[in-house]
Subunit: 168 residues, 2 copies
């Protein structure tokens, strides 16, 4: 979150910091997804990661529009939470031998990423509404709905395909 | 997640690793909550943190039962994701000046923690079901429902009390 600075005095400051946090996070996710795509073996999972990569590019653009709407330049702030979540995903991708088990682990890692985004966008949308930044709230709600749909899609793949094969 | 070892060969290995990951996470949360309770100024928020502390103690006990059910000793595995999320919470607690803004930031941090737990328990319950560990799935479902309820309670406090005051 990068909320380390005494500069955070108002809700507007806090809003900007969390916006910078998720901007950093989305950009880190863009860097991490290609490896996850490459490592996944289940076709439906690979396709889901590819489609989420395109969505994530749109999420970055929407965040840039959000910065513009509040009169700020897009800027990230280092966020130890997403770094930790992505570190785990990378390590899984390199270290699990069995392909089916790896798919299950990749899904778990990707869902941790989705849930991080869901909580941050949920917070930002609530705050944007209260701070009278309705156009920003609307923009971010589109992204939040895509993150929730991505999480559900991963659950579906896990339940129908990957886990059963890995357990069998 | 600590999934760094080539020892993860089967779904049972992966299940055990994620169980160790969330066991570590719950114990770190128990250590972090007292500071969050102390820093919160909204009474309803302080009460929510206190009640979640007692729930977290039960979550740790349930995880110990889960380890027992699969014939393993309770053990944590270092998890960079929860460490990052909690680092952020600590930093917020020390660095935001305005009390109302601090409450809003503490809620956002606590909801990031809840969402991490929700995703990990969701994964473990799905895997437990597929691996024929129904009693473990049942135990963890009780915890998952409490985590979801805690997240909703925080949203309620944020929407009704804290954010409005902080924005006003």
């Amino acid at each position: 979150m990068g909320l380390f600075s005494k500069d955070i005095k108002t809700m507007d400051d806090l809003f900007l910091h969390v916006l910078q946090d998720i901007y950093y996070a989305e950009n880190q996710i863009l860097k991490a997804l290609p490896e996850m795509m490459e490592k996944a073996t289940n076709r439906e999972l690979t396709a889901a990661f590819k489609s989420h990569f395109s969505e994530t590019e749109k999420h970055v653009q929407r965040l840039e529009q959000a910065f513009e709407l509040i009169g700020k330049s897009p800027k990230g702030t280092k966020c130890p939470a997403i770094d930790g979540i992505i570190d785990e995903a990378h390590e899984i991708a390199g270290e699990v031998d069995d392909k089916k088990v790896l798919d299950a682990a990749l899904i778990a890692a990707a869902q941790a990423v989705e849930h991080y985004e869901i909580t941050r966008y949920g917070t930002l949308i609530a705050w944007a509404g209260e701070l009278g930044k309705e156009p920003v709230a609307k923009l971010l709600t589109t992204t939040l709905n895509e993150e929730k749909a991505a999480d559900k899609k991963l659950t579906g793949i896990a339940e129908k395909k990957v886990n059963l094969k890995a357990a069998g």
